[in-house]
Amino acid sequence: MDWQGQKLAEQLMQILLLIAAVVAFVVGYTTASFRTMMLIYAGGVGVTTLITVPSWPFFNRHPLKWLDPSEAEKHPKPEVVVSSKKKSYKK
């Protein structure tokens, strides 16, 4: 998943679970059946899992542009300078 996809997955998960909970409670309360509420909620959790947990392609619509290996040679990594830093830490 890319960054946008991860944010979408998190938002979808929270909203779908809340909707499942509200629907489950309202249906359960009006039909006076605790069992119905639990079953609807369990179904909602299952559906949410199927939608948000596996990495579906629609979560990867803004893929990260990794640098091409041939480009990397043209821009070498900066070298780390160690010697000057050691002197400043001595008291």
Partner: protein, 167 residues
Amino acid sequence: MHSFGYRANALLTFALTILAFMCAIASFSDNFSNQTPSAQIQILNINWFQEEPHGNDEVSLTLNITADLQSLFTWNTKQVFAFVAAEYKTSKNSLNQVSLWDAIIPEKEHAKFWIQISNKYPFIDKGHNLRGKDFNLTLHWHVMPKTGKMLADKIVMSGYRLPDAYR
């Protein structure tokens, strides 16, 4: 949200937290139910009334218990536990309670009942205080929920009296 395991964990935790809130709201919704239970107890007969070998009074009664506890049942009720207790006062204790009968009512349909039995549990006093004693018969009930807070209440019926001499 970068891996399968991370997302699955986040989803499960959030789902369980929401479930806890749903159960709390379901329990709270019980406060809005209108409860009008009623009951009547008659003592049909005093079967025997004697002094035990070790010196305590014991009496056996035949009770006729009529009750309508249907309005106590809500969508969040698992069962209602009802029991009848005899309550009286002695010189030693201001309140003595002896449980005479109990029942578990699992469904609303069984909550309106009429039953005639002798006391399920022995009515024994610690001492010799029962002769001529005035006592109350109280029907207590505990409404046990599927989730949340248990509710306990009672109806007190007074005016019963034991005979003055052993039989």
